[in-house]
């Protein structure tokens, strides 16, 4: 194991996969000469050259669409969108094209494309630059969706995404780029999709945290242990499609309570979806309604004190967990 920053782990994954397979190439705004808006692609232009690392104009829909076309005809493009906020301009190519081409043409082609992009609030960037959009992409059949929260998963999942034959929406998090984590040193650390991580074991309440919120959930679990003598089990689904619902259900069978934490909006969110699945599949095991902790149902405000309360923090998760235990 080596201690590596999340962004470096992603960089390693890209470098290793580019060495492994010449069909892998990168496209994105400022990923080459500038080394990436978040420095994820640092050094790759120098190492692999302009053929394989391409700075693009600011044309999100078209660069994703080119990735789709290239993926249909033999390449494995990894497209970086500067942030999820700008992926809205590429929704047509992501949904109508990347996700549906295989199905709509009766399985004649595959689209092995990865679209990477970071999300997240907390930098006072206001409404247009603070989105969390796992839910939008989770919604779409044909897409796979990954949202790694640790350096090890960032690396392992990205390698798996690049090798996968489906279009993958790979959601990173701006807050996580600088965080260190232990990453296995062997250069073939691949994390399969569809396997949730149990970040902390416990038997009193299940807390599912998505993306950055997996970390926040762990903080909440510590508080629950220290101040309330409660053992929370913290799960990080790691990928939302496919979803390791089995692990989540097993945990709920044990704890009989479930709190879901996400940074995005509540309506039609990841938590709304997961709560529906949990109640459908484990109704008889639940001792309390499934609880959700989500971002506030507002465009993200700029002013610090407002921004602070507009996305979830550990105390809210503690409260939600306690509420599921109120009647015990």
């Amino acid at each position: 194991m080596a201690s590596v920053r999340y962004r470096e782990a992603l960089n390693q994954a890209l470098r290793e996969e580019m060495h492994r397979d010449e069909a892998v190439m990168l496209m994105g705004e400022d990923i080459g000469v500038f080394n990436g808006a978040f420095k994820v692609t640092q050094g790759l232009l120098e190492e692999f050259g302009e053929r394989r690392v391409r700075d693009t104009p600011i044309s999100e829909n078209t660069i994703v669409g080119m990735g789709v076309g290239a993926a249909m005809t033999g390449l494995r493009p990894v497209v970086e969108l500067m942030t999820v906020n700008f992926s809205l301009l590429a929704l047509d190519q992501i949904v109508n094209h990347a996700a549906h081409i295989r199905y709509m043409f009766g399985g004649q082609v595959k689209v092995p494309l990865v679209v990477r992009m970071p999300q997240g609030a907390g930098h006072q960037l206001g409404p247009t630059h603070s989105h969390c959009f796992e839910a939008i992409y989770l919604h779409v059949p044909g897409l796979l969706v990954a949202a790694p929260s640790t350096a090890a998963d960032a690396k392992g999942l990205l390698k798996a995404a690049i090798r996968d034959d489906n279009p993958v929406i790979f959601i990173e998090h701006e807050y996580l780029y600088g965080r260190r984590g232990e990453v296995p040193e062997d250069d073939d650390h691949v994390q399969r999709f569809g396997e949730a991580a149990i970040r902390r074991e416990g038997s009193d309440v299940t807390i599912v945290g998505v993306s950055r919120m997996a970390l926040t959930a762990e903080q909440a679990a510590e508080t629950l242990a220290d101040e309330h003598d409660l053992a929370a089990e913290v799960l990080d689904p790691r990928t939302l499609r496919p979803l390791d619902l089995d692990t989540i259900l097993q945990s709920v069978h044990k704890t009989n309570r479930c709190v879901i934490v996400e940074e995005g909006w509540p309506h039609g969110g990841v938590g709304a979806n997961l709560a529906a699945l949990v109640q459908e599949q484990a109704f008889d095991y639940l001792d309390a309604p499934v609880a959700r902790v989500t971002g506030a149902d507002v465009p993200m405000p700029y002013s610090k004190p407002l921004e602070e309360i507009a996305y979830p923090h550990a105390p809210q998760i503690v409260q939600a967990a306690l509420a599921t235990l109120r009647d015990v």
């Binding site: 829909n61 078209t62 789709v68 390449l75 709509m104 043409f105 009766g106 034959d165 399969r192 619902l245």
Partner: protein, 435 residues
């Protein structure tokens, strides 16, 4: 108040440019061009009839009048080149060599359709013939074409891409974005605007400030050419030139083919946006009639040959209809096929089935025989609850289908089972919608 620019519709018809007629190819080829244009025409006509009989669902966009543009472009391609088109692409698939049977079966929504009944009229596809699809999103195919060109380049092949789209599509953001990228990266892509002078009911002059669309690439560094899209030889010559240049100079080229669709935008178009006179004027330049006349005049076609070729086209289309009619509908258990490629490294639940709250596990899907796949009547799990409805209740699926039939059907690969043909349905409100 909004004020529209006024113009006299009938005056808009531009006389074909004064230029020397493009050369004919050798006689055998010339006859094939004519025969294939006739096939496309007869196919489109029959497709329209089949739509009226409710054999075809959804939207149906016919390319009658645009055959020369389609065929001239397709014949300028090498077998390894890619062609990519729009929702008006039955003709492109046929021109590329896809069997009329497969295109008609796709219109009928049958398993033998060239997209296995998943795409319908707007989404034809034939990987084998490098026909890379019809696309329902106006302007959506341009970035894909550039990506394919990038792959040709990246892989060091000599292949090129020909991307056709409409005059309306030239106003999408993807047009400018793609022109710029294709020029910037020197991609071997020829963009062909089939300028039929309308985007649905909006005339060229009312949707574009610069109506000479071939000029639209200039500021991006994409040279423009134009051709007479009513003349197959001219279209061929210009497309071949452009492809040659694109291939050898690594350079995108934009071609504008002036053409006209004789029928409405789709089957539900009362055509209130143009005059009968205008349509008649363009019909007088029918690309098939005029090419046939030229071939007769220049001695390529013998006495009665025109009628013979036409008879063959009609017969071929008849066979396509018979085939499509006897091809089975896709079985309900195939509903979830090919949403995903089920690889080795993926576990977990892929899809959630709204009918039974039964999520689909990647592992199970890989291991399961096809007929037991999620969505199939044979699929059961411990999670299935009483809210489960029989498969026939799924919206949009034929309700007369049952599991027994599906077993019998599997052996019948040729699909020769006319009994499967569904009774024609009345279609109450479809004419109201268009898009």
């Amino acid at each position: 108040m909004l004020r529209y620019r006024r113009f006299e519709m009938a005056e808009r018809v531009v006389a074909p440019e004064e230029r020397t007629a493009a050369p004919l190819p050798e006689p055998e080829r010339a006859r094939e061009w004519l025969a294939t244009m006739m096939l496309i025409r007869r196919f489109e006509e029959r497709a329209g009839e089949m739509y009226a009989k409710a054999k075809v669902g959804g939207f149906l966009h016919l390319a009658i009048g645009e055959e020369a543009t389609i065929l001239g472009a397709a014949r300028a391609l090498r077998p390894g080149d890619y062609m990519i088109s729009t929702y008006r692409s039955h003709g492109h698939a046929l021109a590329r060599g896809t069997a009329p049977e497969a295109v008609m079966a796709e219109l009928f929504g049958r398993v033998d359709g060239c997209s296995r009944g998943r795409g319908g009229s707007m989404h034809m596809f034939d990987l084998q013939r490098r026909f890379m699809g019809g696309y329902g999103i106006v302007g959506g195919n341009l970035p894909l074409a550039a990506g394919m060109g990038m792959a040709c380049d990246y892989l060091g092949t000599e292949d090129a891409v020909l991307c056709t789209f409409g005059d309306g599509a030239a106003n999408q953001g993807t047009f400018g974005e793609t022109m710029n990228l294709a020029a910037l990266w020197r991609l071997p892509v020829v963009f062909l605007v089939s300028n039929n002078q309308f985007g649905m009911g909006t005339a060229l002059e009312r949707h574009s400030a610069v109506t000479e669309l071939h000029k639209r690439g200039e500021s991006f560094g994409v040279p423009g050419l134009r051709c007479d899209g009513m003349d197959v030889a001219d279209t061929f010559t210009v497309c071949a030139q452009a492809l040659e240049r694109s291939r050898s100079e690594r350079q995108p080229v934009l071609i504008e083919a002036r053409t006209y669709r004789f029928r409405g935008h789709s089957m539900a178009d009362p055509e209130e946006y143009r005059t009968r006179e205008q349509v008649e004027q363009w019909r007088a330049r029918d690309p098939i009639v005029s090419f046939g006349q030229r071939l007769s005049r220049e001695g390529v076609l013998g006495e009665g040959e025109l009628a013979r070729l036409d008879g063959e086209a009609i017969e071929r289309v008849d066979r396509a209809v018979d085939f499509a009619d006897s091809s089975p509908f896709p079985e309900p258990p195939s509903l979830y096929d090919d949403v995903y490629v089920l690889g080795d490294q993926v576990g977990g639940w892929y899809s959630v089935d709204a009918r039974t709250p039964t999520p689909h596990r990647g592992e199970d899907e890989r291991a399961m025989p096809r007929h037991q796949l999620p969505g199939g009547a044979g699929y059961e799990s411990e999670h299935t609850t009483s809210t489960a409805r029989p498969i026939g209740a799924v919206q949009g699926l034929p309700d007369e289908t049952d599991a027994e039939e599906s077993d019998a059907e599997e052996t019948d690969a040729e699909g020769a089972n006319p009994d499967r043909a569904r009774p024609d349905r009345a279609r109450p409100d479809r004419a109201e919608r268009e898009g």
